[in-house]
Symmetry: C2
Subunit: 514 residues, 2 copies
């Protein structure tokens, strides 16, 4: 199905791509790659569950869906995500024990095992996929088992992800070296310059995450992957497209098959809808503030929403707030609430002064792309470290969702808007984003097409993948060398003893004879 | 002196570059970067010693030289290189003790210290360089102390190199992780797939090279660098431009400021001089063979040269042989000897069937660029591993300079020319070279201009540079944690003992009372 693709002296024809995306923001950015693949004349099939929350609602423009049935309904998954958000945003009003038991219930309720089996044990779907003879599988590990599917179809695999479990996946299965002495691990509370107590804590977190990762994969995934393991399978990935870049991540070494494409989804802004543009223009010289806590947050905490609304009423800027659910009572006239906002285009608007964000990576990269300083109110997972990085670089003020008072938000907005250092620092990060040898999206597409052209990228794959952990750390070699040295010392000592005994014996005999 | 350079929304103006090149092949490839810098309107100054063997003979086209005097004459250095070549190519006829003593004499005779002092303690030269206000220093570590000079001038440093001392420099000073379990070290006799005995040997070589590297830099260089060390100084490099790429190197992880530009000096072929083209065309369908043992080899071993000539007389191809010095007596009519050949253009000629090479990296990359299979006759240093890699990939036959007989060369040429697998494998490596997201030379220039634009590339620099070795390996953390655990166990035991004693005492007292 694959002809040749144009690069240098190669000719163009279309390849055949299977995409296994994640949901929510994961789909929003995978979608950008899908669109670009379609644009470049490739045939794209998106594999999606019948209970999908976001992916299946996309218009099939230039690509097609392949559905697989799961025994659950969409609303059950939807309820699961809501429940997860609830657990986090109501964390403060709950005891730790209660929170932990809710998380465990949630995990019991929907296991990776179940989705996985629904996908790979569906003979009809697998038959159709086999017949399609794909050239490459693009896979976001948000959805389990895509790597196993690629392996079963015998198609080269490309992983698309940002970070998984404090780099545990990339480190353990992808052979990315990650040394806890200078690579802050999840949950990150430090930068890459750590003092001694911080390094102790980071080291312990590193050990803990590694243990949890091994336990979870061993219990949840490995039984499905028999006779190999999850790590063996995903470790076969030809290329790791990482949604990260060094203007917004701590530099660390990586194998040659890691390609950093952070911010590839960003594009120059399109014009706003007429009424929105009018509202934005009405802000005059004060400009506007954009506020969004991400697509998962649905106003689960009304008390907080009222605080936000009160604070926003006190600033001179106009505010565009993406919020689904109930309207806050304290909403001021300068603030408009929308179910959905064209966030990328708003961030690129010249009147935009600041962005209040939960710290999702898509939004942060869009703010970086357009150089808009941040007020960060992280909710969960990697959002804390996302905001922390920007705070450490002097491009964001970070607020605590649970402890935040009205005045804190007013002050934070005043700081990032009126203290020029925030804009300047954000512009510096933005310049680094735009100053790369190739554009991130072109880089992603190049390597996807490379894998299709060359049926893989084996020349970029480190041999560490074929070593056991004790071979990797040369422990077998060390034991052998110590044994050799030990044996040598033992023989030396024995020989010396023997010689001394012989001498003594002779001397005694001589003495006796005398 | 630096305006802004065009990339994306940046404007163009010219930067000011100081180049500290190496001699011989090192200069030949640095020269390509110099030419491209000139082409792009940058002002280039090449720093060179008055006793330079090759650099100072270049025509100052678009760039200028800055000389510094050394107390030696050019012929002394020239004699040193000849002596070094002699030591290697006559190695077989000499005892090991004699060889080692010759190497030690050579090292005593010309110390890095001497060249270094001549460069940085020359106040006139340093004054001129300071006034020039350079934007970047391009430095090949073949010449000592360029990094120290950049530091003294307070100008960002870019290192241009292939490999130094079995990756010891990159590993120890550049923070490139290099694990002996899958990274073959110098002198390489294996690939990156090693069995147990090979890993033992590789591990020992790794330890040995590390020790020698520390000793040599400590004795030869560190005294000059006081109060910092050589590693501190060269470790400040913003970018490491490595003359290597994964089509011709074993993949391994690297920090984000390492950029692999191997083969950047290769270009499409230019037409040959008329008489040479006539000779090439006279070969008919048999085609031609190109033969060069590099610019340092000057026919030091006449016996071998006669063997070469006899062998070349027995093949149907026409041969172009780059050889200085005495002509071999056994030269056949199909072979022409030249003082100098346009090697790049000849390798790109459609009639070229094979390349007999000593395995210098420039020549190998040219052969890769044009897809010409190799007969490798390595002489010294990295040439063995260069050829070994190509042999392992099935693109070269390797011969032993000292054990080679006439028939071996005839057979080797017959194999690489008439067994199609050699051409096919070489073409595969060649395709990987041409199938990159950007051209290697553009990549090099991008990062040089990036460093000029941004006064460095700090965002690509791993924090490992700021850690001591025991911090890097978390040894201080481990000791601390062990101490805590130890103290805890000690206190537990003591407490238990105390409790038991208390219990016993009470029981005894009770018993007594009873």
């Amino acid at each position: 199905p694959l002809g040749l693709l144009l690069v240098g002296f190669y000719q163009v024809e279309s390849g055949n791509v299977l995409v296994i995306p994640g949901e929510f923001s994961h789909w929003h950015n995978m979608r950008v790659i899908v669109e670009e693949l379609v644009e470049r004349n490739h045939s794209v099939t998106v594999l999606v569950s019948t209970a999908s929350n976001t992916v299946k609602y996309a218009k099939e423009e230039g690509f097609k869906f392949q559905f697989f049935s799961v025994s659950r309904e969409e609303h059950e998954f939807s309820a699961m995500w809501d429940e997860m958000t609830d657990i986090w945003v109501q964390f403060k009003n709950s005891t730790i024990l209660h929170t932990v038991s809710r998380v465990i219930d949630l995990m019991k309720n929907v296991s990776a095992f179940e989705i996985c089996e629904a996908m790979i044990k569906n003979e009809t779907v697998m038959g159709t996929l086999r017949q399609s003879k794909f050239d490459v599988v693009l896979y976001d590990p948000f959805t389990p088992c895509g790597d196993l599917l690629a392996d079963m179809l015998n198609v080269p695999l490309i992983v698309v992800m940002k970070m998984f479990f404090g780099y545990a996946l990339e480190r353990i299965c992808g052979q990315m070296p990650s040394t806890p002495s200078y690579t802050p691990t999840h949950p990150v509370r430090f930068s890459d310059r750590m003092n001694f107590p911080e390094r102790v804590q980071n080291f312990l977190q590193h050990v803990m995450l590694t243990t949890i990762f091994y336990t979870l994969t061993h219990v949840q995934l490995n039984p499905l992957y028999k006779p190999i393991t999850f790590c063996d399978s995903i470790g076969k990935a030809e290329i790791w497209l990482m949604r990260s870049y060094w203007n917004w991540d701590y530099p660390r070494p990586f194998p040659p098959n890691f390609v950093f494409i952070g911010g590839y989804h960003c594009k120059p802004p399109k014009p706003l809808p007429k009424d929105m543009e009018d509202f934005v223009q009405s802000s005059g010289d004060d400009g506007i503030v954009i506020f969004s806590l991400g697509s998962i947050y649905k106003n689960q905490n009304l008390e907080m929403s009222n605080k936000f609304a009160s604070a926003l009423g006190k600033i001179p800027q106009k505010v565009l707030w993406a919020l689904r659910g109930e309207k806050p009572e304290t909403l001021a006239p300068n603030t408009r609430i929308y179910d959905w906002i064209p966030q990328k285009d708003l961030l690129g608007h010249p009147k935009t002064k600041a962005f209040i964000s939960h710290g999702g990576s898509n939004g942060i990269f869009e703010a970086i792309y357009h150089g808009v300083p941040l007020v960060g109110i992280p909710l969960f997972v990697d959002q804390f470290e996302n905001i922390l990085f920007m705070k450490n670089k002097g491009a964001a003020v970070m607020l605590d969702f649970f402890k935040m008072e009205v005045e804190d938000l007013v002050e934070a907005l005043d700081t990032v808007i009126n203290n020029p250092s925030y804009k300047k620092n954000m512009m510096r990060i933005s310049e680094l984003h735009h100053d790369q040898p190739t554009k991130p999206l072109d880089r992603a597409l190049f390597w996807i097409e490379f894998v299709m052209r060359n049926k893989g990228a084996k020349h970029l794959r480190v041999q560490a993948h074929n070593l056991t952990w004790y071979q990797y750390y040369c422990l077998d070699v060390a034991v052998f060398l110590l044994a050799v040295v030990g044996l040598f010392v033992f023989l030396m000592v024995k020989t010396c003893c023997f010689c001394i005994r012989m001498c003594c014996w002779r001397t005694r005999r001589k003495n006796k004879t005398e």
